[in-house]
Symmetry: C2
Subunit: 340 residues, 2 copies
Amino acid sequence: MLDTRKLDVLRAIVEDYVQTREPVGSKALVDRHHLGVSPATVRNDMAALEEEGFITQPHTSAGRIPTDKGYRLFVDQLTRIKPLSGAEKRAIATFLEGAVDLDDVVHRSVRLLAQLTQQVAIVQYPTLSRSTVRHVEVVTMSNTRLLLVVITSTGRVEQRVTELPEALDDDVISELRARLNSAVVGQPLASAANRVAGLPDHFHLVDRAVVAQIVGIFAEAVADNRTDEKVAIGGTANLVRFGDDFDRSIKPLLEALEEHVVLLKLLGEVSSPSLVTVRIGHEVPHDQLATTSVVATGYGPGEQAVATLGVVGPTRMDYAGSMSAVHAVARYVSHILADA
Amino acid sequence: MLDTRKLDVLRAIVEDYVQTREPVGSKALVDRHHLGVSPATVRNDMAALEEEGFITQPHTSAGRIPTDKGYRLFVDQLTRIKPLSGAEKRAIATFLEGAVDLDDVVHRSVRLLAQLTQQVAIVQYPTLSRSTVRHVEVVTMSNTRLLLVVITSTGRVEQRVTELPEALDDDVISELRARLNSAVVGQPLASAANRVAGLPDHFHLVDRAVVAQIVGIFAEAVADNRTDEKVAIGGTANLVRFGDDFDRSIKPLLEALEEHVVLLKLLGEVSSPSLVTVRIGHEVPHDQLATTSVVATGYGPGEQAVATLGVVGPTRMDYAGSMSAVHAVARYVSHILADA
DNA sequence: GTTGGCACTCCGCGAATATGAGTGCCAAGT
DNA sequence: ACTTGGCACTCATATTCGCGGAGTGCCAAC
């Protein structure tokens, strides 16, 4: 049904259309690619491909453009991810090295990814719920003012300030700090709240209420899913490359970029770092973005991914290039997180 | 030269043009505003205003549109900043209250400002160099691994992790913590580095090198101007309202929004919170943005402003509304920062 | 200084026309 | 059975032309 030449034709159509942004005709195809056949033959193949729903023509007597289904087949056909050139690898390394903290890593990554793919890049901050507690610090800032700092395995820092009803003894603070740390260090954040529940019982009755308050704040900070929604965005200026059809394609995307919740849905489930997910057109879980595609993958310090990064662009995009860029950046970032 | 009626005419032209986005003619003016004169009279005034360079016509026999100079006069004519309605004030209060940390405050502010003005909003993070040190914490994370946390008066937290050549005694850490805090708490960050320079001399000779390293990290964290460049952006989707002329007006702006350095130049010098700065068209310090205007003001916990926030939009924008929104949000944010 | 009248200027818009890229199909060739 | 050249046909896009109308500038009258 689909012999190799038809696949070649489809691939050629996708490549040309991505490059020129214009419907591609049979003549142009045989000129630009050295398929060893005549335009007429290509036309027959095209008719077949259209029959199967892989390509379509915007109007009678125009060239063909790939459908979502066509892109899908094209992407599936890319069996392996094209490795980056040495120069590109070096560019990634130099660009990312020298980052001082997590924020810096995320921001550099998003800019890098945007630069490499010439598209809009999105990097999710490492999800709290999947990371573990590295350290908890309790600091008195004044008599009744207390600062709580939680540092996670991914370098992320959560902080909470709280006002106490009465001053606490330094000894109590020290004991609390020690007990908190021994209870939760190394534990995943998700279970940290449970592990401190009974903690106030170890304290003197007089301090118990205040300690309970602090433990409550800690549990809240650790359980706070709001911060899971944090993402960084870059390369918005690349949207101008969309060119045509401002209202239908760019406006919804700009709006989506503001809604971080929507973005996270776009990035999708956190997947293995070695697996690059591609969603094309209607496969994207957002009605307004039927003409955009998402290329994403997971990343994280260990083998286990703790967050997602990727790029968003028009369905008419360079899938091969985007996939390899996303893959490479995810690998490097994972590497950096593991070291830090 | 410019009697009150001519000013009224200019104001009317600006208002109509801002609303309709179309060149406004003499007839439309007298219809929509009850100036008590005939179109012919208005035409004479218009001729005078054009003579002076306040308005211009895109082509012969079209209506007039304001020039940058016209907008400037219009804005200067707005003697006082229009107070917000009670509903708007309440909206601001409810939107901003319940922010848990600095990050949250900034993000809520930028969204709020974008929502209120229907434009692109920018909020600069409180500048480190202008704020003071509230607390320094030194934490050992493992034998040779040390975490340094600096909390500023604006709620911002800087953290640095460093690897030590040898383990330090807990007593030394405690002493270092105490000395650091007593040396710099309450001091502006700009001078903090100087104040700790001689600090290692107070320690035993054996520890001095390690202490010096830590102090160095501290000085670096405090002096790091890189973080002064941090800004939050919101309301990018409102760019679609620019409508016409994508490449010339939107593309450069999108690019500028990616370049935080450029943005900070746009926002300009940190000004008093009670003073709203308006830059119109060519007054904006960026060649590519000749058709955009910036409305900005300073904010900060005390009387002294520590950072800037504002909105960016087409020269054809609602200056009165934007100015009052920017003013009000700056006031509220300052208030929140002072409390926290 | 204000107003109504009037000729004039262009922009924008729609209809009419030309252009041409690209197709589908058919008959002939391999 | 597939491939190929030929050819008529289609339709989107570009171009031209003509017109209507909004808006102006000027002038004479008030």
